[in-house]
């Protein structure tokens, strides 16, 4: 479980996050949603230690991440898997080598065992036949899947996914959503997904945090989201035609 307490972050004179309190649960897909520029990616980057917050704490199983010694922090980081918005695969390594990378850096296995483990992860994300190709030779959706395989290869306890569906066609986006959901259930990870894709929220969101103007504006589950009376959240969720039609159908059905 990851707990965020009173987290605030500023860049120069711009206050990006203000006093965020939240809890992200184990074995569930926790989603941080909000408009572009609302601060949701900054919140995730504070949680994984890429940014140092001005105030507040991030607790991993009750231990404050930013107060840890460097070595302990590195150990926590090795239990975190992260899928980046642009996949962040290493260009000079093949798909298999990208997935093997964390094993080579931190694993104690023999090379053949590392390859077996990497192939197993590539099978999980259903892209094992592309193992010899370089990232530039595969599509954006495939790169996302390789990114997920790399993120889970060390069997992380915490999985962060930054905009996993951005730039993908709707069908591939659903495949990625399903993968994240399956992996969360099978590995029992604490999964945090940063997204503004409402399809993804409705597909996988079990615990949803709505960030607006750098503050936690709303928290709840999918069901509560559909029946919310929070004005800003309604404007965000029902901005698209499809979601407006869902809302109208729900209203008629009442």
């Amino acid at each position: 479980m990851i707990v965020v307490e009173g987290l605030s972050k500023r860049f120069g004179n711009t206050q990006v996050l203000t006093a965020i309190d939240a809890a992200f649960h184990k074995g569930r897909v926790n989603q941080i949603i909000g408009r572009s520029g609302s601060g949701k990616s900054v919140l995730a980057k504070c949680m994984v230690g890429l940014y140092q917050p001005e105030e507040g704490r991030v607790l991993y199983e009750g231990r404050s991440f930013h107060d840890m010694e460097e070595e302990e922090r590195r150990q926590v980081r090795q239990r975190i898997g992260m899928l980046f918005q642009g996949s962040a695969l290493f260009d000079s390594l093949t798909v298999l080598e990208n997935v093997m990378f964390p094993l080579r850096m931190f694993g104690t296995m023999a090379k053949s065992e590392m390859q077996d483990r990497a192939h197993e992860c590539l099978r999980l994300v259903r892209i094992q036949e592309k193992d010899g190709l370089f990232p530039a030779q595969i599509s954006g959706g495939m790169q996302k899947r390789v990114g997920i395989a790399r993120a889970i290869v060390l069997e992380p306890e915490y999985l962060f996914c930054d905009e996993p569906n951005s730039g993908l066609d709707p069908q591939t986006a659903i495949v990625i959503d399903d993968l994240i959901k399956e992996l969360t259930e099978s590995l029992g990870t604490t999964t945090v997904v940063i997204t503004h894709d409402m399809n993804s929220v409705m597909e996988t969101g079990e615990h949803i945090l709505f960030i607006h103007q750098g503050r936690k504006w709303w928290e709840g589950d999918r069901e509560a989201l559909l029946h919310t009376d929070n004005k800003e959240l309604i404007e965000f969720v029902f901005a698209g035609n499809l979601m407006r039609q869902v809302k109208e159908a729900m209203t008629r059905g009442r």
């Binding site: 890429l50 980081r77 642009g86 990378f101 080579r104």
Partner: protein
Amino acid sequence: MGMIVHFGRYLNLLRETFSRPERWSIFWRRTVEEMDLLGVQSLGIVALLSAFMGAVITIQTKTNIDSPLIQAWVVGFATRQSVILEFSPTVISLILAGKVGSNIAAEIGSMRVKEQIDALDIMGVNSASYLILPKLAATTMINPFLVMISMFLGIFGGWLAGVQSGVISSEDFIMGIQTGFKPFHVTYALVKTVVFAFIITTVSAYQGYYTRGGTREVGISSTRAVVYSNVVILLANLVLTRVLLL
């Protein structure tokens, strides 16, 4: 941002760079790869420039000191001194700052904007050490060899051009390159080369590592890497010459 802040960040990056590598086997393998990319692949341009510059130095020296009071072997002597003391260590390093420095800044800068450095950090890998230390080890080890090859080819180019064009006989040129030879001058040149290799790699890596933005900013970092490396090399050249030769 002030110069002091940049210098502080540069020192901080150096501190992180000199951390113990996570895996020595990976470090050595990456160092050998970098030796090939940054060193061996620069051999062609170094050889070409050295041979032609040695040739030009010989011919220009002869045309500028063509006097019955100056003995013919002085052309060989002047060529050797110019090549060993200044051309090979300094000019070749300035050229490598353009080729290697821009390569380092562009590679690391691209990794920064594509979030690959963030990925390394989140995995718990010391990204500065992983990315920069093998490059630094590679350039400080291989550049002295490049410069020694440059010295040989520079003098050889001078001999060939001098003899072929008839400005000096082979015997006079060889007497010139043997006269008053001080082995310390080679040591001085190699010390400069190692310092310049350190400057090229760390200044360029700093520019790349702290790139923010997109591809345009990667280009800017790459240009800055070359300009700042050249400026720092020129300053260091003056300081080292003052300290080692006077």
